[in-house]
């Protein structure tokens, strides 16, 4: 049945369509911006600017160090958010009294977007490394807590019963039955958190910073150096895509039982 269908359909090389789309995208971009008085640089300008940026530092800091500065902020805050977020999420999900006391507070603060915290954090903590990391922390903490909490609350009761019947004590039930069951959701939360963290660092650096990829965008904007803005965008996207790729690989390694039959 399936085979017949395949041969009946005429063969369409779909990848040609993908190539066509990319050609149209970059071609269109080039055509629209080719005139000398265009305010937006052409793709070629962006590539040229990229190699310039590779060679000459911006604000006395080379490109790779800008990236490193941002990454350090993201990872420092993300690690803290991961540890504390999973802990808080488990406490919320597993202990009823803890949930009753702290869930309303968490729920009250949750809808405030991390970026809206920037002004007050800057006012409270100044413009050093700490305020940026706090903002990234807030951004990452919320989804990690939420995913962990819902996962713990929704552990398959059948699996829990199996644990009880097999003689797991309360501690074993939490650490050896409930938590392993939650790992996929927790990892999903970490992935969401990472992309929000990355966005937060860009935002925080755009608003107050002297280094980092967000700062590069801001510098480009201030100097009307749009090619620099776009180079920064490409760099930000590339780093973000790399992080996502690494997290996906990590998920495969940590949860081998999830990839079976897919």
């Amino acid at each position: 049945m399936k085979k017949k269908e395949k041969t009946a359909k005429k063969f369409t090389p779909y990848w040609l369509l993908s190539i066509l789309a990319l050609v149209l995208f970059f071609g269109g971009w080039y055509v629209l911006t080719a005139s000398p008085d265009s305010i937006i640089p052409t793709p070629a300008d962006v590539v040229v600017r990229f190699f310039e940026v590779l060679k000459e530092p911006i604000a006395n800091v080379p490109l790779w160090e800008h990236i490193l500065v941002s990454l350090r902020r993201v990872f420092g805050a993300f690690l803290a958010a991961a540890v504390l977020g999973v802990l808080f999420g488990v406490l919320l999900g597993w202990f009823k009294t803890f949930r009753k006391i702290f869930y309303p507070l968490y729920n009250l603060l949750r809808p405030i977007p991390p970026i809206a915290w920037i002004p007050i954090i800057v006012l409270l903590f100044g413009i050093g490394e700490l305020p940026k990391m706090i903002i990234v922390f807030i951004g990452a903490f919320t989804p990690i807590v939420f995913n962990t909490y819902s996962a713990v609350l929704m552990v398959d009761p059948l699996v829990l019963n199996a644990g009880i019947v097999l003689g797991a004590n309360e501690r074993q039930l939490l650490f050896q039955v409930a938590l392993p069951d939650c790992i996929p959701s927790i990892i999903a939360g970490l992935k969401t958190a990472m992309s929000i963290a990355w966005m937060c660092v860009v935002a925080a650096e755009m608003i107050v910073s002297r280094a980092g990829v967000g700062f590069l965008i801001n510098r480009g904007m201030e100097n009307s150096d749009t090619a620099l803005v776009m180079v920064s965008m490409v760099v930000i996207a590339a780093v973000s895509a790399t992080i996502t790729f690494i997290l996906n690989k990590l998920e495969e390694v940590l949860c081998p039982w999830l990839t079976i039959g897919k």
């Binding site: 059948l158 019947v165 097999l166 003689g167 074993q172 050896q176 069951d181 039959g261």
Partner: protein, 254 residues
């Protein structure tokens, strides 16, 4: 006739009801009394939702009855001292076959070498050699339930509860598993309480068959198929016995 046998579980006047969010009370068990004899293969037969799982949960101590008692000869067992095979397998998806089987000894702190050895023997017994390191997601339904059975027997308990363990399997696999479970039961000498809604399965397996009525559940009838094993489900004797139960079951449903 069986009264001279040793009673392993004595259930008396068990009542259990549940209240939903709209404050409707549903009486699931209404004064159920039952004896389970040592080393017998007892089948509890009942229609769809007649509280069989509730009964097993009460025996396991996962839930407490509103009224009535459950007594075990030799005292109430702790958790992990009664084996349980679940209808929907309830395997730990993040554990491999062998890790699932050795879950109970691991919870009880048995050292790794010893529990591995026992788990391997059980895996061999249920015919899953070569699949020790597979994850449950990679197994068929029948194989998953073999893991479930091995995991239950790894408790070394002398009572095994089985909640419609073959309910989700296809007919062919089901017959095969019925043969296997009888073999395992005979080799391990345990008391089995086997819940099913399938009359043929009940007649194939049971030393004794207890028929439960619809909610609220009580024991309506008891049957003893005095047939030698393996029982041929096409023999005259088998079919007649089956029909007798089927008639009673229809009555129980109305």
């Amino acid at each position: 006739m069986a009264d001279n046998r040793e009673v392993r579980i004595k259930i008396r006047n068990l009542k259990k009801s549940f209240t939903d969010k709209k404050h409707n009370t549903l009486q699931v068990l209404n004064g159920l009394s039952l004896d389970v004899y040592t080393n017998e293969f007892l089948v509890i037969l009942g229609p769809g939702q007649c509280g069989k799982t509730v009964l097993l949960n009460l025996i396991l101590g996962l839930d407490t009855p509103d009224e009535g008692t459950i007594e075990f000869s030799g005292g109430t067992p702790a958790k992990g001292e009664v084996g349980m095979v679940f209808q929907r397998y309830a395997l730990f998806p993040w554990k491999t076959v062998i890790q699932n089987v050795e879950a109970c000894p691991k919870f009880h702190g048995v050292d790794k070498a010893k529990r591995r050895e026992e788990a391997k023997a059980l895996i061999k017994l249920v015919g899953l050699e070569g699949f020790e390191n597979a994850y449950p997601a990679a197994l068929s339904g029948g194989m998953k339930q073999r893991v479930g059975i091995a995991r239950a027997y790894a408790t070394n308990a002398d009572i095994m509860l089985m909640d419609e363990p073959f309910g989700a399997l296809d007919a062919q696999t089901r017959y095969q598993m019925q043969d296997e479970i009888l073999k395992i039961w005979q080799s391990k000498m345990t008391t089995v309480v086997f819940v099913t809604n399938n009359i043929e399965e009940a007649v194939t397996l049971g030393d004794r068959i207890v028929l439960l009525g619809n909610k609220p559940s009580v024991v309506v009838n008891e049957f003893v198929p005095n047939m030698a094993r393996p029982r041929n489900n096409l023999s005259q004797e088998f079919l007649e016995f089956r029909n007798v139960i089927a008639d009673k079951m229809d009555l129980a449903l109305t």
